[in-house]
Every structure is written in structure tokens, then in C-alpha cells.
């Protein structure tokens, strides 16, 4: 019987993604999947799930990438989504509607006893940056792959090059004041921003043929800058600032108004398209 409880260092992440912020992500999953649609396409283009393959989707959240990968592995294949949040997995299971080629498991991928040599592919869209011990987590995922199996995942490049997050934080800080900056490599959204660091971790974990490179993408929100700002204010740095500073509804409205101004330059005729830079990593189990 798998043990769903997280490693001690990951208990905070489990609470985060199960309670408040996780509940918001679950409620907003359609908007967030739309936001990340181009990144998802990039991931699938790189990972190339093939018919009949067995894949693991790490940090699958509400299951968007799991289902998209399963559409490619087909009836003869299987994709298992792994997440630390039952809140998000509940949404994922609902969306899967009982289809037999996907399953979802509540587990900490850092320590979960995956079936050894079981998977052709491990993939992840922004789900790899939260491990308290990333080297251990990557080694655990390597053991889950068949020899010759591949791992392909996306992480965020540095915040300075990602205006969705950078501008949201700037608007939040302008209203509520500064918070302690995240230390480099600290588990969180930008922990895997350094390509060299992650390539080194993959090598330590026993992977071969490691590549890491940047890719430009766009985060899309239908409508105007106000809609994009409202979505950005629900998650990420504004959400954190609101929690830590005890922000009020008035603060949120002010932040959204400020952020809408900052996002205005990204408006197109039909939507807001915020440029983003992600890191794409790929490696093989020898």
C-alpha cells in the first residue's frame, strides 16, 4: 500500500496545495490551464508521449497535462498523475471521468515507492520545483523509469524574465510592502530557474544525455488586462502577500488595478498574452 504522507520537508507544500492556495488553484483550474496552454503544448512536443507508453505526470495538479498526455499514449498506454494535494486530485479525477487509461495517486514523488523500471516517460509541467530534497526526488524518479526511459519537464526561468510574476509581485509590494525575498534554489516557483544547477542535479541523480535550455512561451488570458490582473492576483506572489500582510479586499482591488495597468501593454485584440521564459529539461535513464 503506498504511503501518501509527504516527506517531512515537504509537509508544508502538502498543506499549501491542499488548503487555501490549493483550493483556489482547484477553483481556477480552467483559467490556469488556459494560461499555461502554450507551455503544455511545448512540454508535449518535447516529451512526445507515444501510443502504448506508460507515463508519470509529476505534480499533475488538476490533471490537465495528465489527460493531454493520455490522449497521446492512447488506449494501450497509461498515464499516472502524481500530486501531493488531494484537493487538486479531486478535480483531476472528476475531469478524467473514470477513463481507464489514466489514474491519479496522492503521493510525494520525492519518496513514493513507484514501481521500479515501470515507466517509459516522466513528465511535468511546473511540478518539479517544490521538493525539499530535489536530488533525492530525481533519483527516485530515475528508478521509476525503464532503462532508456526519459524525463522531460518544464520549470520557470528566473523571475526577472517572467513579467506575469514579476509585475504581480511589484504591484503587491507597492501596496502591501516587501516580503523576504526567496533565496535562490529554495523550494518554490523559481527553485529550478538556473539551468546549470538543474542539469547538475540530474547528473547527480544518475541521468544521462541531459539537456537544459530556455524556451519562450506566452501566458494567455481571454479578455482585457483587468481579467489577467484579477487572475494573477489570485495566485503566486499577490496571494502570498495578502496572506502574510493580512491584505483586505480594498488592498486586492488596488493591486488588481495597478497590475492591470502593468499588463495593458500585453493586450491583443482578443486576449492578454504575457511573454514568459521557461526552462526545458530532458534526460534519459541509462
Amino acid at each position: 500500500m503506498p504511503d501518501p504522507s509527504p516527506a517531512p520537508g515537504n509537509a508544508g507544500q502538502a498543506d499549501f496545495w491542499t488548503a487555501g492556495p490549493g483550493v483556489r488553484w482547484a477553483a481556477l483550474h480552467e483559467a490556469l490551464d488556459g494560461l499555461f496552454a502554450q507551455a503544455t503544448a511545448e512540454l508535449l512536443a518535447r516529451a512526445q508521449p507515444r501510443p502504448g507508453e506508460v507515463a508519470l505526470d509529476i505534480g499533475c495538479g488538476a490533471g490537465d497535462t495528465t489527460l493531454a498526455a493520455a490522449d497521446r499514449t492512447g488506449a494501450g498506454g497509461h498515464v499516472e498523475g502524481i500530486d501531493i494535494s488531494e484537493t487538486l486530485l479531486g478535480v483531476a479525477r472528476r475531469r478524467a471521468g473514470g477513463r481507464p487509461d489514466v489514474s491519479f495517486t496522492l503521493a510525494d514523488a520525492q519518496t513514493h515507492a513507484f514501481r521500479a523500471d515501470g515507466a517509459d516517460l516522466v513528465l511535468s509541467r511546473f511540478g518539479m520545483m517544490f521538493f525539499s530534497d530535489p536530488a533525492t526526488a530525481l533519483a527516485n524518479l530515475r528508478r521509476a523509469l525503464k532503462p532508456g526511459g526519459r524525463i522531460v519537464f518544464l520549470t520557470w526561468a528566473e523571475v526577472a524574465r517572467n513579467p506575469w510574476n514579476r509585475e504581480a509581485k511589484a504591484a503587491g509590494v507597492a501596496r502591501l510592502g516587501a516580503v523576504r525575498p526567496d533565496a535562490p534554489r529554495e523550494p518554490g516557483q523559481f527553485a529550478f530557474a538556473e539551468i546549470g544547477y538543474v542539469a547538475d542535479l540530474l547528473a547527480q541523480a544518475g541521468f544521462a544525455a541531459i539537456t537544459g535550455e530556455e524556451a519562450e512561451t506566452r501566458l494567455r488570458v481571454p479578455g482585457r488586462a483587468e481579467q489577467a490582473a484579477a487572475l494573477a492576483a489570485e495566485i503566486g506572489p499577490v496571494s502570498r502577500l495578502m496572506r502574510e500582510k493580512g491584505g483586505t479586499d480594498a488592498d486586492r482591488h488596488a493591486i488588481v488595478a495597478d497590475l492591470a495597468g502593468r499588463f495593458r501593454r500585453f493586450e491583443t485584440a482578443e486576449r492578454v498574452e504575457v511573454p514568459a521564459v521557461v526552462n526545458v529539461f530532458a534526460a534519459l535513464r541509462p
Partner: protein, 103 residues
């Protein structure tokens, strides 16, 4: 083996080759470097292709790196396509570009 140092007040526009030697760059090189080892110090800047067995970057580099062992230290600022057998990257090192670790 010989060690050659490109001192802080020295700028070289052109390629630098030291077949079996070690090169330390404290100044600037606008060109390719081929050597047994290359060490770009904190004040050093290289713009070009570095080819060596061991490469340590503490300063700035843009271009390409092809080596066996690559070490990026905390002040490293690298914009390069990198191909190495091993890579270590200290916290704070910045690397923009494509990395291939052949193992």
C-alpha cells in the same frame, strides 16, 4: 605544465591557444580559447568558444563551451551553449543558453 595568465589590464582580440597548458583569464578575450584548462576569474571576460578539458567560470563568458568538466562558481555570468561531461553550478551562478551534459 605552463600556466598563462591574461592579466586584468590585458585585452586580446583574437584566438588564444595553449595546447597542453592552463590559461587564467583576469582580463578580456574577444576570441576563442583552446587549452587544457581555462579559468575565467571574477574580473575576467571571454567572448568566444572555450574548448578545454576543465573549465571554471567565476566571471563573464558568452559564446560556447565544450569541455569535460565545467564548474560555474557563484559570480559566474554565462550566456552560452554548453556541452560538458560533468557540470557543477554554485548557488548564484547564472547560465543562459542550452546545456548538454553527456555524462
Amino acid at each position: 605544465m605552463t600556466k598563462s595568465v591574461i592579466e586584468e589590464d590585458l585585452t586580446i582580440d583574437g584566438n588564444v591557444v595553449s595546447k597542453d597548458g592552463d590559461i587564467e583569464v583576469k582580463g578580456k578575450v574577444n576570441g576563442d580559447i583552446t587549452s587544457k584548462s581555462v579559468d575565467v576569474s571574477v574580473a575576467g571576460q571571454v567572448q568566444g568558444v572555450i574548448t578545454a578539458e576543465a573549465v571554471t567560470i567565476r566571471g563573464k563568458h558568452s559564446g560556447q563551451i565544450a569541455c569535460t568538466e565545467l564548474a560555474l562558481e557563484k559570480n559566474a555570468e554565462v550566456t552560452a551553449d554548453v556541452k560538458a561531461q560533468t557540470l557543477s553550478s554554485e548557488k548564484g551562478a547564472r547560465l543562459v543558453g542550452k546545456v548538454q551534459i553527456t555524462g
